[in-house]
């Protein structure tokens, strides 16, 4: 990949939720598009982009955990595999893909439990449960998107957990991204690692997840308040110490007050 392709690839990988306009980038440039395929694949798998299967109504997410290689992915809920065109984010060429392996019963019960537990907190979300390649762990993946282009807002929540079936302990990450772009460009991004244990079955596992995510979201709300009351306030005051707007006609007169201020700088 040349440096130009690398530059464009970096733009794709850092695109905000729901705003990779691939068609716009792709037109008249089939060779550029082809060279960018790895970047689109990386974006789609990292951002848990969802696709609709031909003939199906449910969305299916893309991730490294359900990748079969060669552009194919599988869905445990419908037990199908499918091909993905990463640039257009379209699925095709479905085949049966029976759920097999030592964790298939656990995956089935987790699909049920995680879907209903998620519906309790996410108005709209897509989940996926997959055995990892070596069968050593089960991955629980969730993505929730909220696109509000008429209000210049987009947001994405991603949860990823790896469950060790032998101990029922989970380690995972929650990532939340928000983008606002009305006469500006504001991005919020946060990521939090979580370690959970103490559950004995699928219902218990998803209950632990909901509990931990509730706690994280409460902490995140507190972090917003801390930033607003902390560094934001420390950067620029809403009003001067004098509690009055500047008297620009008498700006020279402030020189004295400026010296005085040092004497009562504790006063707010």
């Amino acid at each position: 990949m040349g440096s130009k392709e690398a530059t464009v690839a970096s733009f794709i990988e850092s695109a905000p939720p729901g705003e990779v306009d691939i068609k716009a980038l792709a037109s008249n440039q089939p060779s550029l598009l082809q060279s960018l395929d790895p970047a689109f694949k990386k974006y789609n798998e990292e951002q848990y982009v969802t696709v609709k299967l031909p003939g199906g109504s449910e969305a299916v997410l893309l991730s490294e955990y359900n990748s079969l290689g060669e552009g194919r992915y599988h869905d445990t809920a419908s037990q199908t595999s499918f091909e993905v065109d990463h640039a257009s984010q379209k699925a095709s060429n479905t085949q049966q893909h029976p759920l097999e392996g030592q964790h298939s019963d656990l995956i089935k019960s987790l699909l049920r439990s995680f879907a209903s537990a998620s519906a309790e907190h996410f108005p709209s979300s897509t989940i996926g449960i997959y055995a990892t390649q070596s069968d050593s762990a089960v991955a629980l993946v969730l993505v929730a998107n909220k696109y509000s282009p008429q209000n210049f807002w987009n947001g994405r929540w991603r949860s990823t957990y790896l469950l060790d079936p032998s101990s029922n302990s989970l380690s995972g990450t929650v990532k939340v991204d928000v983008h606002y772009y009305e006469d500006g460009n504001v991005r919020m991004s946060t990521s939090k690692k979580l370690e959970l244990s103490g559950a004995s079955n699928a219902d218990g596992i998803v209950r632990e997840i909901a509990k931990a995510e509730n706690k994280f979201q409460e902490e995140l709300n507190r972090a917003f308040t801390n930033l607003a009351e902390g560094s934001f306030k420390a950067l620029r005051r809403p009003l001067p110490v004098t509690r009055q707007k500047v008297e620009w006609e008498k700006i020279g007169g402030y020189r004295v007050r400026k010296d005085l201020k040092n004497l009562n700088s504790s006063g707010d």
Partner: protein, 279 residues
């Protein structure tokens, strides 16, 4: 994209990519489209850098408006660092009336900065136009990592002033960008980053008081100062709303802490009370 103007496309892209990497993305776009360099550098606001004036020892802020090649002009000494060719300097160094107003404006915003920012750095630059003058007023303040997180504020106010022929009033056009970068690292959230920029514009006609040149010059400083103050106060409120109100609301829209079935029951119960009262 094939028909879109490359410059507009570049601006649209920069509006969407992470604002914390604007400088890096700007360099990337320029490497793809070298023709856009000058236009992009003068229209995309990036976080300000500061330099120490060799003559006065005071810090000043660097932007495209006090830049000539790789040299920057200090508002305190009116000299370029590193020095530029005398012929070039004569062309791009403000003189006379514009320089007098620039000096007065620098003194005024320096006091304003102390009152609102209690620290930081400020600079103002003016240059003549055919009918009037233009300028920019810059502020930069950093907050180091504490329990309330770390942060950086850069405000960039660009103005265009056209004076009425009578010199009794002037039209001021102001375009302001605030780049606000906030971050928090804690055990509770690991890492929270809130970074971005907002741009707003305003236009205003203000009276010029006095008859003598120095009175009119002072009048401009007062008008510019007041406009910048009002704009910054407005933008601070807006930033507060976007960063801490809306961003938090969107997270709440993505995920509800309260179970949705419970929230639905509450809503139904609430509706029932309203219905009963209505009877």
């Amino acid at each position: 994209m094939a028909t879109a103007d490359p410059f507009d496309a570049a601006l649209d892209l920069l509006r969407r990519l992470p604002p914390s990497s604007t400088q890096k993305n700007l360099n990337g776009i320029i490497s793809l489209q070298p023709d856009l360099e000058e236009d992009l550098l003068s229209s995309v606001d990036v976080a300000l850098t500061s330099k120490r004036c060799v003559t006065s020892g005071r810090d000043y802020l660097c932007c495209d408006y006090n830049r000539d090649g790789n040299s920057y002009r200090s508002p305190w000494s009116n000299e370029f660092d590193p020095p530029i060719e005398p012929d070039d300097a004569a062309e791009v160094t403000p003189q006379g009336r514009v320089r007098r107003m620039e000096e007065a404006l620098n003194c005024a915003v320096d006091i304003y900065r102390e009152l609102y920012y209690e620290g930081g750095t400020s600079s103002a630059y003016l240059w003549p136009l055919d009918e009037g003058f233009a300028g920019c007023v810059l502020f930069k303040k950093s907050a180091s990592q504490g329990s309330g997180g770390k942060g950086g504020w850069d405000s960039i106010h660009v103005l265009e002033v056209s004076e009425a022929a009578t010199k009794r009033s002037a039209d001021y056009k102001l375009t302001s960008t605030v780049i606000l970068d906030l971050g928090l690292q804690s055990a509770a959230v690991d890492n929270l980053e809130l970074a971005g920029n907002l741009t707003r514009q305003t236009q205003q006609k203000c009276p010029l008081n006095g008859m003598r040149d120095n009175e009119i010059e002072q009048s401009h400083v007062v008008n510019i100062g007041r406009m910048v103050e009002d704009m910054e106060t407005r933008m601070r409120n807006l930033l507060q709303e976007v960063y801490f109100g809306k961003a938090k609301d969107v997270v709440g829209d993505l995920r509800s802490i309260q179970p949705l079935s419970e929230a639905e029951r509450d809503r139904a119960a609430h509706q029932e009370v309203i219905n009963k009262m209505g009877r």
